[in-house]
């Protein structure tokens, strides 16, 4: 196992390299640049700006210079927010997004799993239908609907919570964003858990245990759970990577200073360095979480073996 992990980490390096290269060139091919805007620039000013940001050098030279900066840990200044380096922006935003994402993920995994297990154990009865209905509703309502509704009801009508803002990380400011993020995930996890739990409960060894009279709730759940949890783990990996790197809708509607908005804004603004920063960030998260998922597979299911 240790060798496997090591091997995966080593192969992560060329993967990252490939991702960075591909993104770099894809970015430059896109129409429009960081300085295309409503007030167009006079040709001289444009030339000056391009010189300052080294956009007038041939593409391969820009690429190499970016690579060497990257290897020294320098992501460069943001093009559209030149007062800040990309590292500055991440230093401020990442902890925020991680806090919200981790809370949402935890909530989703716990509540979703519990709901899914209950539904599976009471399959085709009232509780099951209720859970399925709620889960369906939860996964069909988009975040950009939940968020304003939450604001309308809890912030404006009831005035229990603020409308928006991070408030320096106050708990009361986090409720809205976390709930909005978590709701669709709870729904998805509940359905996945229900589905795979139902299957696991039908497995031979469970039926054997039941037929032998070992109907203890905990025993059945514990054994079935082992098999049922695999799709959840598969799902949780990429979900974690996505949640921890923030959601653009939640951050925009709730005015949260996270990094999620950068994924969209930077791309739309052609902020080259910031986009590259987000690419590297998400690549690292995805690689790490995928590795964790694969390790978890092996731990949970002894039939899974890695050479």
């Amino acid at each position: 196992m240790a060798r496997y992990v090591l091997r995966r980490l080593l192969t992560a390096i060329p993967t990252l390299f490939f991702i960075v290269t591909l993104s770099f060139f894809l970015l430059r091919v896109a129409p429009g640049g960081p300085f295309s805007q409503e007030r167009g620039l006079s040709p001289e000013v444009k030339a000056n700006l391009e010189r300052v940001y080294q956009l007038d050098a041939p593409l391969w030279r820009q690429y190499l210079s970016y690579l060497s900066d990257l290897l020294h840990g320098n992501f460069g200044p943001s093009y559209n927010l030149p007062d800040f380096t990309v590292a500055d922006l991440f230093r401020v935003g990442l902890p925020v997004s991680i806090q919200l994402g981790a809370s949402a993920l935890l909530l989703a995994l716990i509540i979703g799993s519990v709901l899914g297990i209950i539904a599976a154990l009471r399959q085709n009865r009232g509780v099951d239908y209720a859970v399925v209905a709620l889960a369906t509703a939860g996964s069909t309502i988009p975040t950009f609907v939940i968020a304003p509704l939450y604001q309308l009801v809890f912030a404006l009508t009831l005035a229990w919570v603020p409308v928006a803002g991070w408030g320096g990380g106050a708990l009361i400011n986090k409720i809205g964003p976390v709930l909005t993020l978590a709701l669709p995930q709870i729904a998805i996890v509940a359905r996945l858990m229900r589905g795979s739990m139902i299957e696991a409960l039908r497995a031979n060894h469970i039926r054997t245990a039941r037929s032998l009279g070992l109907t203890s709730f905990a025993v059945v759940v514990k054994h079935a759970l082992r098999g049922a949890v695999l799709p959840i783990i598969s799902y949780a990996g990429p979900a974690a990577a996505a949640l921890l790197t923030g959601s653009v809708v939640v951050e925009t509607v709730f005015a949260i200073p996270g990094v999620g908005r950068y994924f969209v804004d930077a791309a739309l603004n052609r902020d080259y360095t910031l986009v590259m920063g987000t690419v590297v960030l998400i690549a690292v998260f995805v690689i790490v979480f995928n590795l964790l998922v694969d390790v978890a597979y092996a731990l949970v299911d002894p039939r899974v073996r890695y050479e």
Binding site: I19, L26, L27, A137, L152
Partner: protein, 376 residues
């Protein structure tokens, strides 16, 4: 060795039941699934045929009815007639002196400081509230005129949107787009994802590694950027939308299927098949894939909503279906921004979307239950 003689007389050969027939029968017995299937068919029909029946085109703008709430009674409502007349008078550059309404026909006296151009009547007709207008009388000096027109009635059962277009028709048209994108992209994602994931999981080892690394790479690309690229190279068409969305969604499916395949390939029946000399492809097709169908079916019923929502997110960013076409996601995104002042903009498209997705889910559940090979 038994020495029972083989009975040579032909007997009626019992018709065998294949697995798929079994599955079909189970599906039909599932009440919720059947109801859902029927609902989906009706929804599809409504979206295909409905727009032709509502009496409105989905692009027609009603100048007088921008952002009006839904109503069972026709527009213009009695208190709006005067406002519509005054509006029309203003455009004609005349003053409204008096008016009366009788049997659905309105008669108005107008006056001006300069001779009134008889063509001014066109404005009355142009107005969404009136039609069949004609000049009744004209004063000799041309400074006054009496006009009459029929009050043109329009029903806006779902109200109108921010531009003055009938929401019911637009919701139905949006359904065409959303359903098409959802099903096409979802199918694309499933087909690619299942084949890819099953192959990777079954073959394992180096091949699995490489295939999954490729998945990682694609995952790590900023999705929005990929879409902008596609938009640049292929232009803004509809097919592009579901390629872009399908291209991203198959990744999740592949991961899940691969996970299942990894554990399935160690099971005895696969080992047995191998021992019997079945080809890897045969094993994939007959054993691995059917056994992954359970979680795949469930995930697919989660996938179609995701696809539709993803498409709405793209439209929200300006990269989706072009005006005047629309989709449920677009309508909902706009509607969400207009609460609490125009709730109907959110309510109706949401009901359509949610009910359709509910139906898809129950159908998917039914499919999963029906295809589950262990349920005998």
């Amino acid at each position: 060795m038994s020495d029972v003689a083989v009975d040579a007389t032909p007997t009626r050969i019992a018709k065998g039941r294949s697995l798929w027939t079994d599955a079909w029968r189970r599906l039909r017995a599932n009440r919720a699934a059947v109801v859902s299937a029927v609902y989906l068919v009706m929804m599809t029909l409504a979206c295909l045929v409905g727009p032709l029946l509502t009496g409105h085109a989905y692009t027609t703008i009603y100048n007088d009815y921008v952002r009006v709430p839904p109503s069972l009674s026709p527009y213009p409502q009695p208190d709006q007639v005067e406002a519509a007349l005054t509006d029309a008078a203003r455009r004609m550059r005349v003053d409204l002196v008096s008016w009366k309404l009788e049997d659905g026909r309105v008669t108005a006296a107008i006056g001006a400081t300069r001779p009134i151009d008889p063509r001014a009547l066109r404005y009355l007709d142009r107005s969404s509230s009136f039609k069949d207008s004609r000049v009744e009388t004209t004063t000799p000096d041309g400074l006054g005129m009496t006009l009459s027109a029929t009050v043109a009635e329009h029903h806006f059962l779902f109200g109108t949107d921010n531009t003055g277009r009938d929401l019911l028709t637009r919701t139905l048209i949006a359904g065409r787009v959303s359903l098409a994108i959802g099903l096409l992209a979802g199918l694309t994602a499933v087909v690619i994802g299942v084949i890819y994931g099953a192959t990777a999981g079954y073959l394992g080892g180096r091949v699995d590694d490489v295939m999954m690394r490729f998945v990682d790479v694609l995952y790590s690309l900023p999705f929005i950027f990929l879409v902008i690229m596609l938009v640049v190279f292929f232009g803004r068409n509809f097919v592009l939308m579901f390629i872009a969305v399908g291209a991203v969604q198959w990744l999740d499916m592949a991961r899940i299927v691969r996970g299942q395949a990894l554990s399935i390939r160690r099971q005895e029946f696969v080992q047995a098949a191998l021992a019997m000399g079945v080809s890897p492809f045969g094993i994939l097709w007959r054993h691995v894939v059917p056994n992954t169908l359970g979680p795949v079916a469930v995930y697919m019923t989660l996938l179609v909503p995701q696809v539709i929502l993803l498409e709405s997110f793209l439209s929200y960013l300006g990269l989706g279906v072009q005006e005047p076409l629309t989709s449920w996601g677009v309508l909902i995104a706009q509607g969400a921004k207009n609460i609490p002042s125009a709730n109907w903009l959110l309510l109706f498209p949401s009901i359509f979307l949610t009910s359709t997705l509910f139906a898809l889910n129950f159908l998917g559940d039914g499919l999963r239950d029906a295809l589950d090979p262990r349920d005998r």
